[in-house]
Symmetry: C2
Subunit: 208 residues, 2 copies
Protein backbone atom coordinates (compact mmCIF):
# COMPACT_ATOMS: atom_id res chain seq x y z
CA UNK A 1 0.00 0.00 0.00
CA UNK A 2 2.60 2.48 1.06
CA UNK A 3 5.21 0.78 -1.09
CA UNK A 4 3.98 2.93 -3.93
CA UNK A 5 6.46 5.68 -3.28
CA UNK A 6 9.59 5.25 -5.35
CA UNK A 7 12.74 5.02 -3.28
CA UNK A 8 14.36 8.45 -3.41
CA UNK A 9 17.71 7.02 -4.34
CA UNK A 10 19.09 5.28 -1.30
CA UNK A 11 22.81 4.58 -1.36
CA UNK A 12 22.76 2.36 -4.38
CA UNK A 13 25.42 1.36 -6.80
CA UNK A 14 23.09 1.45 -9.76
CA UNK A 15 19.51 2.54 -10.17
CA UNK A 16 17.21 -0.23 -11.32
CA UNK A 17 15.48 0.88 -14.51
CA UNK A 18 13.53 -2.04 -15.81
CA UNK A 19 10.67 -3.72 -14.01
CA UNK A 20 12.75 -6.85 -13.66
CA UNK A 21 15.47 -5.21 -11.64
CA UNK A 22 13.02 -3.32 -9.48
CA UNK A 23 11.50 -6.64 -8.53
CA UNK A 24 14.96 -8.01 -7.83
CA UNK A 25 15.84 -5.17 -5.52
CA UNK A 26 12.53 -5.53 -3.76
CA UNK A 27 13.06 -9.26 -3.34
CA UNK A 28 16.50 -8.65 -1.87
CA UNK A 29 15.25 -6.16 0.66
CA UNK A 30 12.37 -8.39 1.61
CA UNK A 31 14.59 -11.43 1.97
CA UNK A 32 17.03 -9.33 3.94
CA UNK A 33 14.34 -8.36 6.39
CA UNK A 34 13.40 -11.99 6.71
CA UNK A 35 16.90 -13.23 7.32
CA UNK A 36 17.60 -10.43 9.75
CA UNK A 37 14.48 -11.18 11.72
CA UNK A 38 14.97 -14.92 11.65
CA UNK A 39 18.70 -15.26 12.19
CA UNK A 40 19.59 -11.96 13.79
CA UNK A 41 22.51 -9.78 12.84
CA UNK A 42 24.92 -12.61 13.56
CA UNK A 43 23.36 -14.79 10.89
CA UNK A 44 22.84 -12.03 8.40
CA UNK A 45 25.18 -12.66 5.49
CA UNK A 46 24.92 -11.33 1.99
CA UNK A 47 25.14 -14.80 0.50
CA UNK A 48 22.30 -16.00 2.66
CA UNK A 49 20.16 -13.04 1.73
CA UNK A 50 20.79 -13.56 -1.95
CA UNK A 51 19.87 -17.21 -1.68
CA UNK A 52 16.73 -16.43 0.31
CA UNK A 53 15.77 -13.91 -2.33
CA UNK A 54 16.25 -16.49 -5.05
CA UNK A 55 18.87 -14.29 -6.64
CA UNK A 56 22.58 -14.60 -7.17
CA UNK A 57 25.14 -12.78 -5.08
CA UNK A 58 26.24 -10.86 -8.09
CA UNK A 59 22.82 -9.32 -8.47
CA UNK A 60 22.86 -8.17 -4.89
CA UNK A 61 26.15 -6.38 -5.35
CA UNK A 62 24.89 -4.87 -8.55
CA UNK A 63 22.62 -2.63 -6.52
CA UNK A 64 24.02 -2.49 -3.03
CA UNK A 65 27.63 -1.36 -2.70
CA UNK A 66 28.06 -3.31 0.51
CA UNK A 67 26.37 -5.07 3.37
CA UNK A 68 25.69 -1.89 5.28
CA UNK A 69 23.84 -0.26 2.45
CA UNK A 70 21.53 -3.24 2.44
CA UNK A 71 20.80 -3.01 6.15
CA UNK A 72 20.13 0.64 5.73
CA UNK A 73 17.61 0.00 3.02
CA UNK A 74 15.88 -2.53 5.24
CA UNK A 75 15.94 -0.19 8.18
CA UNK A 76 14.56 2.64 6.16
CA UNK A 77 11.67 0.62 4.86
CA UNK A 78 10.71 -0.77 8.22
CA UNK A 79 10.97 2.50 10.06
CA UNK A 80 8.89 4.30 7.46
CA UNK A 81 6.23 1.70 7.95
CA UNK A 82 6.19 1.93 11.72
CA UNK A 83 6.21 5.67 11.62
CA UNK A 84 3.17 5.77 9.38
CA UNK A 85 1.34 3.51 11.79
CA UNK A 86 1.85 5.82 14.73
CA UNK A 87 1.05 8.82 12.64
CA UNK A 88 -2.25 7.34 11.63
CA UNK A 89 -3.23 6.21 15.10
CA UNK A 90 -2.59 9.59 16.64
CA UNK A 91 -4.02 11.59 13.78
CA UNK A 92 -7.38 13.07 14.63
CA UNK A 93 -8.58 13.58 18.14
CA UNK A 94 -10.30 10.49 19.38
CA UNK A 95 -11.19 8.97 22.73
CA UNK A 96 -8.27 7.43 24.61
CA UNK A 97 -9.51 3.89 24.28
CA UNK A 98 -9.94 4.15 20.58
CA UNK A 99 -6.46 5.59 20.19
CA UNK A 100 -5.04 2.74 22.22
CA UNK A 101 -6.88 0.17 20.18
CA UNK A 102 -5.75 1.58 16.87
CA UNK A 103 -2.20 1.94 18.05
CA UNK A 104 -2.07 -1.64 19.26
CA UNK A 105 -3.62 -2.97 16.11
CA UNK A 106 -1.20 -1.01 13.97
CA UNK A 107 1.91 -1.90 15.91
CA UNK A 108 1.02 -5.55 15.92
CA UNK A 109 0.40 -5.40 12.23
CA UNK A 110 3.77 -3.79 11.66
CA UNK A 111 5.48 -6.58 13.55
CA UNK A 112 3.56 -9.65 12.47
CA UNK A 113 5.44 -10.12 9.21
CA UNK A 114 8.98 -9.97 10.56
CA UNK A 115 8.40 -10.37 14.28
CA UNK A 116 11.79 -9.51 15.65
CA UNK A 117 13.08 -7.25 12.90
CA UNK A 118 12.41 -4.14 14.90
CA UNK A 119 14.45 -5.20 17.88
CA UNK A 120 17.29 -6.54 15.78
CA UNK A 121 17.42 -3.28 13.88
CA UNK A 122 17.49 -1.32 17.11
CA UNK A 123 19.81 -3.50 19.16
CA UNK A 124 22.09 -5.61 17.05
CA UNK A 125 22.51 -4.10 13.64
CA UNK A 126 25.20 -1.44 13.45
CA UNK A 127 24.03 2.09 12.75
CA UNK A 128 27.35 3.49 11.61
CA UNK A 129 28.21 4.89 8.19
CA UNK A 130 26.18 7.98 7.57
CA UNK A 131 22.94 6.50 8.81
CA UNK A 132 23.58 8.07 12.19
CA UNK A 133 21.52 11.05 11.19
CA UNK A 134 18.71 9.01 9.70
CA UNK A 135 18.60 6.78 12.71
CA UNK A 136 18.46 9.64 15.16
CA UNK A 137 15.85 11.39 13.11
CA UNK A 138 13.68 8.30 13.15
CA UNK A 139 13.99 7.99 16.90
CA UNK A 140 13.16 11.64 17.26
CA UNK A 141 10.06 11.52 15.12
CA UNK A 142 9.04 8.28 16.73
CA UNK A 143 9.17 9.79 20.19
CA UNK A 144 7.58 12.95 18.91
CA UNK A 145 4.41 11.17 18.00
CA UNK A 146 4.25 9.41 21.32
CA UNK A 147 4.86 12.63 23.15
CA UNK A 148 2.04 14.31 21.29
CA UNK A 149 -0.29 11.47 22.18
CA UNK A 150 0.70 11.56 25.83
CA UNK A 151 0.19 15.30 25.95
CA UNK A 152 -3.21 14.91 24.46
CA UNK A 153 -4.54 12.44 26.99
CA UNK A 154 -2.59 13.50 30.02
CA UNK A 155 -3.21 16.97 31.40
CA UNK A 156 -0.18 17.11 33.64
CA UNK A 157 2.63 18.91 31.89
CA UNK A 158 5.49 17.40 33.82
CA UNK A 159 7.35 14.32 32.68
CA UNK A 160 5.55 14.20 29.38
CA UNK A 161 8.62 13.10 27.51
CA UNK A 162 9.59 10.51 30.06
CA UNK A 163 6.09 9.15 29.92
CA UNK A 164 6.33 8.89 26.17
CA UNK A 165 9.52 6.92 26.45
CA UNK A 166 8.10 4.64 29.08
CA UNK A 167 4.97 4.08 27.09
CA UNK A 168 6.73 3.33 23.82
CA UNK A 169 9.28 1.01 25.33
CA UNK A 170 6.61 -0.83 27.32
CA UNK A 171 4.58 -1.40 24.18
CA UNK A 172 7.62 -2.55 22.28
CA UNK A 173 8.54 -4.87 25.10
CA UNK A 174 5.16 -6.52 25.15
CA UNK A 175 5.02 -6.89 21.40
CA UNK A 176 8.55 -8.18 21.18
CA UNK A 177 7.88 -10.75 23.85
CA UNK A 178 4.63 -11.82 22.26
CA UNK A 179 6.37 -12.14 18.93
CA UNK A 180 8.87 -14.55 20.41
CA UNK A 181 6.08 -16.86 21.53
CA UNK A 182 4.03 -16.47 18.36
CA UNK A 183 1.33 -14.84 20.40
CA UNK A 184 1.00 -11.65 18.43
CA UNK A 185 -2.45 -12.53 17.21
CA UNK A 186 -3.90 -13.60 20.54
CA UNK A 187 -6.86 -11.31 21.18
CA UNK A 188 -6.61 -11.41 24.96
CA UNK A 189 -3.09 -10.13 24.69
CA UNK A 190 -4.16 -7.28 22.46
CA UNK A 191 -6.93 -6.47 24.89
CA UNK A 192 -4.55 -6.39 27.82
CA UNK A 193 -2.11 -4.22 25.98
CA UNK A 194 -4.88 -1.75 25.26
CA UNK A 195 -5.72 -1.94 28.94
CA UNK A 196 -2.16 -1.18 29.91
CA UNK A 197 -1.99 1.87 27.69
CA UNK A 198 -5.36 3.19 28.81
CA UNK A 199 -4.61 2.65 32.46
CA UNK A 200 -1.28 4.39 32.25
CA UNK A 201 -2.58 7.36 30.33
CA UNK A 202 -5.73 7.61 32.40
CA UNK A 203 -3.39 7.79 35.30
CA UNK A 204 -5.42 7.81 38.46
CA UNK A 205 -1.95 8.30 39.83
CA UNK A 206 -2.84 9.27 43.42
CA UNK A 207 -0.01 10.89 45.35
CA UNK A 208 3.51 10.87 44.01
Amino acid sequence: MSTRIAKPAARMRKQPRQARSIATVEAIIEAGAHVLSELGWAGFSTNKVAEAAGVSIGSLYQYFPDKLALVEAIRRRHFDHVLSVIREASAEEKPLRQFARELVRGMIGAHSIHPTLHQVLLDEAPGDRGSRAAHASFQARYLEHYTAAVAQYRKRRKDTETMARVLSSAIEGVIHNAARRNMLEAPELQKQLVELISAYLSGQGVRA
Copy 2:
Protein backbone atom coordinates in the same frame (compact mmCIF):
# COMPACT_ATOMS: atom_id res chain seq x y z
CA MET B 1 25.54 -11.77 49.22
CA SER B 2 23.72 -14.55 47.47
CA THR B 3 26.92 -15.78 45.85
CA ARG B 4 27.53 -17.78 48.98
CA ILE B 5 25.85 -20.88 47.64
CA ALA B 6 28.36 -23.21 46.03
CA LYS B 7 27.59 -24.03 42.44
CA PRO B 8 25.96 -27.46 42.43
CA ALA B 9 28.25 -28.78 39.73
CA ALA B 10 27.30 -27.10 36.51
CA ARG B 11 28.49 -28.77 33.34
CA MET B 12 32.18 -28.43 34.05
CA ARG B 13 35.18 -30.26 32.82
CA LYS B 14 36.90 -30.14 36.15
CA GLN B 15 35.83 -28.96 39.55
CA PRO B 16 37.90 -26.11 40.93
CA ARG B 17 39.27 -27.15 44.30
CA GLN B 18 41.64 -24.49 45.43
CA ALA B 19 40.73 -20.88 46.13
CA ARG B 20 42.82 -19.79 43.19
CA SER B 21 40.84 -21.74 40.62
CA ILE B 22 37.54 -20.74 42.14
CA ALA B 23 38.51 -17.15 41.64
CA THR B 24 39.52 -17.94 38.08
CA VAL B 25 36.21 -19.53 37.27
CA GLU B 26 34.40 -16.63 38.84
CA ALA B 27 36.47 -14.16 36.85
CA ILE B 28 35.68 -16.01 33.66
CA ILE B 29 31.95 -16.01 34.27
CA GLU B 30 32.00 -12.38 35.24
CA ALA B 31 34.03 -11.40 32.20
CA GLY B 32 31.74 -13.53 30.08
CA ALA B 33 28.71 -11.64 31.31
CA HIS B 34 30.47 -8.41 30.55
CA VAL B 35 31.48 -9.36 27.05
CA LEU B 36 28.06 -10.78 26.31
CA SER B 37 26.35 -7.63 27.48
CA GLU B 38 28.77 -5.30 25.76
CA LEU B 39 29.33 -7.04 22.45
CA GLY B 40 26.28 -9.25 22.17
CA TRP B 41 26.28 -12.88 21.17
CA ALA B 42 27.94 -12.03 17.87
CA GLY B 43 30.98 -10.62 19.65
CA PHE B 44 31.10 -13.25 22.31
CA SER B 45 34.22 -15.33 21.67
CA THR B 46 36.04 -17.52 24.12
CA ASN B 47 39.33 -15.79 23.42
CA LYS B 48 37.83 -12.41 24.12
CA VAL B 49 36.32 -13.64 27.36
CA ALA B 50 39.60 -15.11 28.52
CA GLU B 51 41.40 -11.88 27.76
CA ALA B 52 38.77 -9.81 29.52
CA ALA B 53 39.07 -12.08 32.51
CA GLY B 54 42.83 -11.65 32.56
CA VAL B 55 43.24 -15.37 32.12
CA SER B 56 44.57 -17.55 29.35
CA ILE B 57 42.36 -19.48 26.96
CA GLY B 58 43.75 -22.71 28.30
CA SER B 59 42.42 -21.92 31.74
CA LEU B 60 38.98 -21.31 30.35
CA TYR B 61 38.90 -24.67 28.64
CA GLN B 62 40.18 -26.31 31.78
CA TYR B 63 36.82 -25.70 33.39
CA PHE B 64 34.33 -25.22 30.60
CA PRO B 65 34.13 -28.00 28.04
CA ASP B 66 32.93 -25.58 25.38
CA LYS B 67 31.47 -22.21 24.62
CA LEU B 68 27.94 -23.30 25.38
CA ALA B 69 28.75 -24.49 28.85
CA LEU B 70 30.10 -21.04 29.56
CA VAL B 71 26.97 -19.29 28.37
CA GLU B 72 24.93 -21.63 30.46
CA ALA B 73 26.90 -20.78 33.56
CA ILE B 74 26.38 -17.10 32.85
CA ARG B 75 22.71 -17.61 32.21
CA ARG B 76 22.26 -19.60 35.35
CA ARG B 77 23.90 -16.99 37.51
CA HIS B 78 21.97 -14.10 36.06
CA PHE B 79 18.61 -15.84 36.17
CA ASP B 80 19.11 -16.89 39.76
CA HIS B 81 19.75 -13.29 40.61
CA VAL B 82 16.69 -11.96 38.84
CA LEU B 83 14.53 -14.64 40.30
CA SER B 84 15.58 -13.77 43.82
CA VAL B 85 14.70 -10.15 43.18
CA ILE B 86 11.14 -10.93 42.19
CA ARG B 87 10.79 -13.38 45.01
CA GLU B 88 11.80 -10.77 47.51
CA ALA B 89 9.59 -8.05 46.11
CA SER B 90 6.51 -10.22 46.13
CA ALA B 91 7.23 -11.88 49.42
CA GLU B 92 4.97 -10.59 52.17
CA GLU B 93 1.70 -8.86 51.54
CA LYS B 94 2.25 -5.19 51.05
CA PRO B 95 0.39 -2.29 49.48
CA LEU B 96 0.44 -2.22 45.69
CA ARG B 97 2.57 0.88 45.46
CA GLN B 98 5.20 -0.49 47.75
CA PHE B 99 5.36 -3.72 45.80
CA ALA B 100 5.79 -1.77 42.59
CA ARG B 101 8.53 0.35 44.06
CA GLU B 102 10.48 -2.59 45.38
CA LEU B 103 10.08 -4.50 42.17
CA VAL B 104 11.32 -1.60 40.10
CA ARG B 105 14.24 -0.95 42.38
CA GLY B 106 15.23 -4.60 42.34
CA MET B 107 14.89 -5.08 38.62
CA ILE B 108 16.89 -1.97 37.90
CA GLY B 109 19.54 -3.14 40.32
CA ALA B 110 19.71 -6.49 38.59
CA HIS B 111 20.27 -4.80 35.25
CA SER B 112 22.57 -1.95 36.16
CA ILE B 113 25.75 -4.00 36.16
CA HIS B 114 25.36 -5.68 32.78
CA PRO B 115 22.62 -3.59 31.22
CA THR B 116 21.74 -5.67 28.22
CA LEU B 117 22.76 -9.10 29.43
CA HIS B 118 19.21 -10.12 30.12
CA GLN B 119 17.97 -9.41 26.63
CA VAL B 120 20.98 -10.95 24.97
CA LEU B 121 20.51 -14.07 27.04
CA LEU B 122 16.86 -14.24 26.09
CA ASP B 123 17.06 -13.27 22.44
CA GLU B 124 20.43 -13.94 20.94
CA ALA B 125 22.25 -16.60 22.88
CA PRO B 126 21.33 -20.13 21.88
CA GLY B 127 19.50 -22.19 24.46
CA ASP B 128 20.19 -25.60 23.01
CA ARG B 129 22.14 -28.44 24.56
CA GLY B 130 20.35 -29.68 27.62
CA SER B 131 19.62 -26.25 28.96
CA ARG B 132 16.19 -26.41 27.38
CA ALA B 133 14.76 -27.69 30.63
CA ALA B 134 16.57 -25.19 32.80
CA HIS B 135 15.56 -22.37 30.53
CA ALA B 136 11.92 -23.36 30.52
CA SER B 137 11.92 -23.83 34.25
CA PHE B 138 13.31 -20.36 34.72
CA GLN B 139 10.65 -18.86 32.50
CA ALA B 140 8.01 -20.79 34.36
CA ARG B 141 9.12 -19.69 37.79
CA TYR B 142 9.62 -16.19 36.54
CA LEU B 143 6.05 -16.01 35.30
CA GLU B 144 4.82 -17.77 38.39
CA HIS B 145 5.94 -14.97 40.63
CA TYR B 146 4.41 -12.35 38.41
CA THR B 147 1.18 -14.28 38.25
CA ALA B 148 1.03 -14.49 42.01
CA ALA B 149 1.59 -10.77 42.28
CA VAL B 150 -1.09 -10.01 39.73
CA ALA B 151 -3.54 -12.31 41.47
CA GLN B 152 -2.85 -10.57 44.73
CA TYR B 153 -3.61 -7.07 43.53
CA ARG B 154 -6.18 -7.84 40.90
CA LYS B 155 -9.43 -9.39 42.01
CA ARG B 156 -10.65 -10.44 38.60
CA ARG B 157 -9.78 -14.04 37.98
CA LYS B 158 -9.79 -13.94 34.21
CA ASP B 159 -6.67 -13.29 32.17
CA THR B 160 -4.41 -13.41 35.19
CA GLU B 161 -1.68 -15.18 33.32
CA THR B 162 -1.90 -12.96 30.30
CA MET B 163 -1.70 -9.97 32.56
CA ALA B 164 1.40 -11.36 34.17
CA ARG B 165 3.02 -11.78 30.78
CA VAL B 166 2.05 -8.32 29.68
CA LEU B 167 3.30 -6.82 32.89
CA SER B 168 6.63 -8.59 32.91
CA SER B 169 7.38 -7.90 29.28
CA ALA B 170 6.39 -4.26 29.63
CA ILE B 171 8.74 -3.84 32.56
CA GLU B 172 11.53 -5.57 30.71
CA GLY B 173 10.93 -3.42 27.70
CA VAL B 174 11.18 -0.22 29.66
CA ILE B 175 14.28 -1.32 31.50
CA HIS B 176 15.96 -2.60 28.40
CA ASN B 177 15.29 0.62 26.59
CA ALA B 178 16.50 2.72 29.50
CA ALA B 179 19.63 0.61 29.72
CA ARG B 180 20.44 1.40 26.11
CA ARG B 181 20.37 5.10 26.83
CA ASN B 182 22.17 4.85 30.15
CA MET B 183 19.05 6.09 31.83
CA LEU B 184 18.59 3.28 34.31
CA GLU B 185 19.35 5.51 37.27
CA ALA B 186 17.11 8.40 36.28
CA PRO B 187 14.63 8.81 39.13
CA GLU B 188 11.82 10.18 37.00
CA LEU B 189 11.99 7.06 34.90
CA GLN B 190 11.77 4.84 37.94
CA LYS B 191 8.84 6.86 39.16
CA GLN B 192 7.02 6.51 35.89
CA LEU B 193 7.65 2.82 35.76
CA VAL B 194 6.16 2.47 39.22
CA GLU B 195 3.25 4.52 37.94
CA LEU B 196 2.78 2.22 34.98
CA ILE B 197 2.71 -0.88 37.15
CA SER B 198 0.37 0.62 39.70
CA ALA B 199 -2.00 1.97 37.09
CA TYR B 200 -2.19 -1.33 35.27
CA LEU B 201 -2.75 -3.39 38.39
CA SER B 202 -5.15 -0.89 39.89
CA GLY B 203 -7.00 -1.34 36.70
CA GLN B 204 -9.90 1.03 36.62
CA GLY B 205 -10.58 -0.92 33.51
CA VAL B 206 -14.11 0.28 32.69
CA ARG B 207 -15.94 -1.77 30.08
CA ALA B 208 -14.13 -4.35 28.01
